[in-house]
Amino acid sequence: MTVPNLHIYVLAAPLLTAFFVNLFGRRSNTVIAILTIGSLTFSSLASLVVMSGILKHGQINYVVGNWQAPYGIELVVDHLSALMLVLISVVALLASMSALKSVSQEVPGREHQLFTLYLILIAGLMGLVLTGDTFNLYVMLEITSITAYGLIAMGKGRAPLASFNYVIMGSVGACFYLLGVGYLYLMTGSLNMADIYQILQTMDGGAAVATAFAFILIGLWIKMAFFPLHGWLPNAYSLAPTGVALIAAPLMTKVTIYLMVRVMFSVFSAEYNFVQHQLAQNIIVWTAAVGIICASAMALAQRDLKRMLSYIIVAEVGYMVGGIWLANETGMTGAILHIVNDALMTLCLFLAVAAIIYRLGSCEFDQLQGIYRKMPITMAAFTVGAFSMIGIPPTAGFFSKWYLLLGGIEAGQWGYVVALLFSSLVNAILFFRIIEIGFFHRDGEPHSHEEAAKAPLSMQIPLMVSAATLIIIGLSSGSLVDAIIKLTIPIGF
């Protein structure tokens, strides 16, 4: 194996395995488990090697099929995409360990179909962070979305309807993005990000480029469920099979935020984003602030843990979009650190939810009485995740939120700062309510649900690992920021 291809192997491993899972996974679930875990372990290790290579030697430019850029498809692995690659492969590995059990309970008999889509989804996400070509980005975006539509529709009850809703919204988003790319292509005659960047520097784009910018941003916002465009997300994530929510919730919105960063700084420039469109910048930060408050308030109204978490995701998207548009280095650091932290804490909470659902069959608040007694390990990890979501110091969530707050104060965006504090308070209420129900309410009446099964070790281990990671990343976030995040900040700050 040659080293220059290593990041391609990271992507190719899940993609190749996806088809083997479909071909050989019909017979037994053990085959699916071995193939999935095996390929994702390989990807995780390889992505770590890629990351260390990038830290040593800097950015890799790679041309697929040896067709030179700007005509061929270029893959660019810089610090930010290497970080995202590690994040995706590790989160996917942990999530799939738990998903294997959860899926065989919830969607029996269709595991091989589900895991085929699951692995293609992961490969698509990896493709999204690797690509350096705007049209290739669209293709990858559709690969991830279409597999997600299929995966969500495998859920019970109204899941197909939620998926259909997502299909409509997602397709509108994709069309907007494609239209924006079309405008850019008209103006510059290129699809390669670096090439477009160069050309845009030398020309006065005017209204056409601004239209392209707006179309691309709104398309991505629909895909990432940024506040007024979030309608599809809560139903889609809470009705999907739990195993699917495990991968979709931590990764899909976060990767789309990465895409926004990529488009804003690798296609357009910081000067274009923040100086030429100052009014837009203010509006976006204020929308983010309103979004954070509304989504937090809606989370308060939920009586189901999974739905509540889905609304929290919408609020978190507001954190990151707002953080990026604060237009200062602290906010940007906070936003990128928060991409990592939020992926890990969402993963931790959803892994806990998967274990609870595996055992109780549901995660409505009424079912959670006395849960701390029944599942002490799961709930301990859940508490760590919850603390991180609230932002209590030793956990990771605190540090990125701190950066975001400082960035907000530095930029003088007081609305955003207030929204962040409000959302932290609401999160505290939300999670302490669950802790109260689970810890202090003894179950007076017997459970209406039969206990389905004890959560097996393969669901507990990834949960504990992710909870431990939250604390480790939290404690070492200073060095993480210095060693990696500082280098991922796009030029122009």
């Binding site: 040659t2 391609i8 190719a12 190749l16 088809f19 479909n22 790679y62 697929v64 099929g65 040896n66």
Partner: protein, 159 residues
């Protein structure tokens, strides 16, 4: 003619003898044309996707003229699932093989190490292999899509 008439009456499927006879005549040529489009795709107009759609359309015509069960005798649900997977696997596998044999992903000239044909011939031949994979995947997916949508997912007689 009499023989055909008796056969259709025995089968008791489909709308009319004329459509069925015409389809019986047309389908071999449609499939041959589909293969032609796939095979010539890498140096003339055409390609795996187009050819795959034409091949898939032949199964759709079969299902419309007779019924869905009848068309599924020629390519069962399971076979088409296998073919779709194999097709996609051929595409990704070729790309990965190129990377493993020292080239870049999908850089077919690298396969020269495997069978020495010359790098330029491999460029052309590599595209051909990929087109075959695409053709297989598209053909079976076309057929499956029609079957699933036409029978509400029941996989019975259909429309």
């Amino acid at each position: 003619m009499k023989l055909l008439q008796e056969q259709t009456q025995k089968l008791k499927i489909g709308e009319s003898l004329i459509i069925q006879t015409a389809s019986r005549l047309l389908i071999p040529f449609i499939q041959l044309f589909g293969l032609y489009v796939i095979v010539h795709g890498h140096y003339s107009p055409g390609g795996g996707f187009q050819g795959g759609v034409i091949l898939g359309a032949s199964f759709v015509l079969l299902a419309l003229a007779f019924d869905q069960k009848f068309s599924m005798q020629y390519m069962s649900e399971k076979t088409s699932g296998l073919l779709a997977n194999t097709g996609a696997l051929i595409f990704v596998g070729t790309g990965t093989l190129c990377a493993i044999f020292g080239g870049l992903f999908l850089h077919y000239s690298a396969l020269d190490v495997l069978i020495p044909l010359g790098p330029i011939e491999w460029r052309s031949f590599g595209i051909f292999i990929v087109e075959v994979g695409v053709g297989l995947a598209v053909m079976s997916n076309m057929a499956i899509l029609f079957w699933v949508l036409g029978s509400n997912g029941e996989m019975d007689e259909g429309l």
